[in-house]
């Protein structure tokens, strides 16, 4: 079975992003990591491969810097890395187009994606990919089970207020939610093996049918600082305050 996991390079999860006076992100001190939801995707891909055999390919759309995160996926245990070369700043549909094109070339049996990337929270990319490929998809998976001949997947999805179990035919796209698994740390031997694994690059110009950008980031603004909190003495007092503020 061939499983493909998508990877995005995102700022480390506890990073406090800072802005310049004219609303640009200051990125030169920022440390990056694999988007945590994509890490779940890699982990799930590895577990499935280790059970049913096959190959795990880690795929990223991005500049050369993203190879660092692909290396992490290789160190975790992925077999191969593939990067579609683009400078950052593509919009969601463009990213989805690049991913879909690379996926067509690879024709995997299953694509696993993080449900969103923690930087801009564009949860739409995986769904666009599925649409572009005309594949079924299941979102927010907390459990993935394949049937015996790996032609179908039973996916437990986290929906508002509960769980929904759906079945999709493969090939298909599944997005991961937090409870799906606990990603492993790259082992030291795994890290030392990573560079010996194949890594390929697809030039951005080779991507077919790239749309014009439909979305542009015009600037960033800091959230206003949070107001000072208040400690109340009793539940009654809390209730009164909430009522006074028209919150209940």
């Amino acid at each position: 079975m061939k499983i493909l996991a998508t990877i995005k390079r995102t700022p480390q999860r506890d990073t406090r992003m800072k802005l310049t006076a004219d609303g640009e992100l200051i990125t030169d001190q920022v440390q990056y990591e694999v988007n945590p939801f994509d890490e779940l995707a890699v982990e799930e891909a590895l577990r499935i491969r280790d059970k049913v055999g096959g190959e795990v390919v880690a795929l990223s759309v991005g500049s050369a810097a993203a190879s660092e995160q692909l290396q992490t996926a290789l160190a975790m245990g992925a077999d191969r890395a593939l990067r579609v070369e683009f400078e950052n700043g593509l919009d969601p549909l463009q990213i989805a187009t690049a991913l879909a094109d690379a996926i067509r070339r690879e024709s995997p049996d299953l694509v696993l994606c993080g449900k969103l990337a923690i930087d801009d929270e564009n949860g739409q990319v995986p769904l666009m990919v599925a649409e572009l490929l005309d594949w079924p998809h299941a979102s927010f998976a907390s459990k993935v089970e394949l049937d015996a001949d790996a032609k179908k997947a039973q996916v437990t999805c986290e929906v508002d207020g509960g769980l929904e179990v759906v079945e999709i035919e493969l090939p298909g796209v599944i997005t991961t939610d937090l409870r799906l698994n606990e990603p492993r740390y790259a082992s030291l031997p795994g890290i030392l093996r990573a560079k010996k694994k194949p890594s390929d690059v697809i030039a951005g110009s080779e991507i077919a049918d790239m749309p014009e950008p439909a979305l542009r980031v015009t600037g960033y603004r800091q959230l206003p600082p949070r107001e000072q909190g208040e400690i109340v003495e009793s539940a009654e007092e809390l209730a009164e305050k909430l009522i006074a503020k028209n919150l209940v």
Binding site: D14, D28, Q29, Q31, E33, E68, Q71, T72, A75, Y185, A186, S187, L188, P189, G190, I191, L192, A194, K195
Partner: protein
Amino acid sequence: MADHRFLYDLDDTRFVLFEHLRVQNLFELPAFSSFEASDVELLLNEGLRFAREVLAPANLPGDREGCRYEDGTVRVPQAFHEAYQKQGEAGWLAMTSDPEYGGQGLPFAVGATLGEMFVGANCSLSMLAGLSRAAASLIIEHGTDAMRQKYVRPLIEGRWQGTMCLTEPHAGTAVGDINTAAFRRDGKYYVRGQKIFITGGEHDLAENTIHLVLARLEGAPAGTKGLSLFVVPKFRVDAQGRPGEFNDVVCTGIEEKLGIHGSPTCAMSFGENDQCVGELIGEENDGMRVMFDMMNAARIGVGLQGVALGSWAYLTALEYARERIQGVETKNFRDPNAPRVPIVRHPDVRRMLATMRAYSEGGRALLLYAAMCSDLADHAQDAEQKEHAQRRLDLLTPICKAYCSDRGFETASLALQTFGGHGYLKDYPVEQILRDARIAPIYEGTNGIQAMDLLARKVGREQGRLFIELMADIDACLQRCGDRERLADIVQRVKAAKAQIEQTTMSFAAQQMSGEIDYPLLSATPYLRMLGNVVVGWLLAQQAEIAETRLGEKFAEKNADDEAAQNEVLANDAQARFYADKICTASFFATNILTENQWLGAAIDSGNRAALETHWE
């Protein structure tokens, strides 16, 4: 609650490894030919992540919970179990160990870098693993084949704990007074006696404990020359490597301590029932020499503890100083409505930050340099280079241990000061860092003993050869940097300090000739500090040299030849700022810290004997 996040200076580490010491040169040696610089990059990223996400979260609960003794067993903090297991599974415990026994064979320079992360993130836990690794190295180096087969793998995988057992209630510094006895019976050796303060002597992370015990064989001479070293497992290990029969080794209690609460400090009783079998490692009565292999490695490890904790303390103080708003800028002090500023704007706070930074970056450079020397001493192909590296390592070992542990604690103290009253509280990590850092000047031979070792056994060796070689290297660096205007002041100050330490060293030699012993020993500690300052001043000057070159290149790329244009480059390029700040660090050190040597040297040269003459006894 304020945050206890572990912070690490990855930028400085990268600079030291790749630009300053050029660790990539090691990969040309056959022993390390399977590694590349890109591996190290990935290792640093993943290692730091592991330190931050797995080891660090167990650090604070480990401190609060501490170890518990119950009826001969010791429980380490609950949070340590999972962290330790993950660390073993991921192979981090075995990073520098011999590949033949399941290690990864990384150069020590890389292992020490990762070690700094791990020890910083969780000092108590990481020092335990360090002991096991060191015990494994000793067994590989000096043990029989059978011992290697039995003990090494489980030690480097972290399943078993290794310990070093020297200290006894009446024999701490005076190792030669050790009373633990060894005797022969039915073709075997048996051990009997009490040891105290044994780190990791007993705990529930390990299935078995492998003690390396210094003991005196019946009939052996008094003093260190009568000590032999024994491998003493808690459970005897059968030919298949399985721990089985109990070996009459009991933990009789643990100590309540100032810091490293997660590290069990155990009182051990060996052979209460005369059933404690030990395997002799090395020759009879040659135990001290064999044990020294482990002690030397452990001394570097203790220096690393100083750097790791000091550096974290500095970084957390820096973060605080940027955020804590207090007072107005000095120039506005008469204006009650002047904007309040973060304390990083106050000159006195900047003095503390600059001092901490100089200690941290200087300490890291010294340790990683010593680690490189160790790699070359073990694996260089050229015999002369190998021996030279070994001599340099020998000279630097007591300096690494004492200088870095002292500076580490001083840094922690300055960091606490930077936090003001808040630093004294448990809300921030500094108070724990300070407590954990305080042990480093004490164990593995107190810093006073390191100073005596430096003076008598290192500087005094081969008519001062080790010292003279070091001075020649310093000269070469000074000559190279001599004509660079921006470095002129640094060069001049390092040169002056070098001249002074040469003179002080000569005067020791003269006193030695005249049979004077007490006075040089009275001066040993300040002498170690002087030489430590000189070595660090030299290493930071090398860093400034590199930084100046790179910064010049950056300016040239942007055609920035006037100050305004250069400031523009600095404002937009973090890497350029890094290089500029490197020069600041070297300059601050040369001016504010290396100049200590003037009064230290003056005091030593004075011949003042007041401390010797005071009537205390």
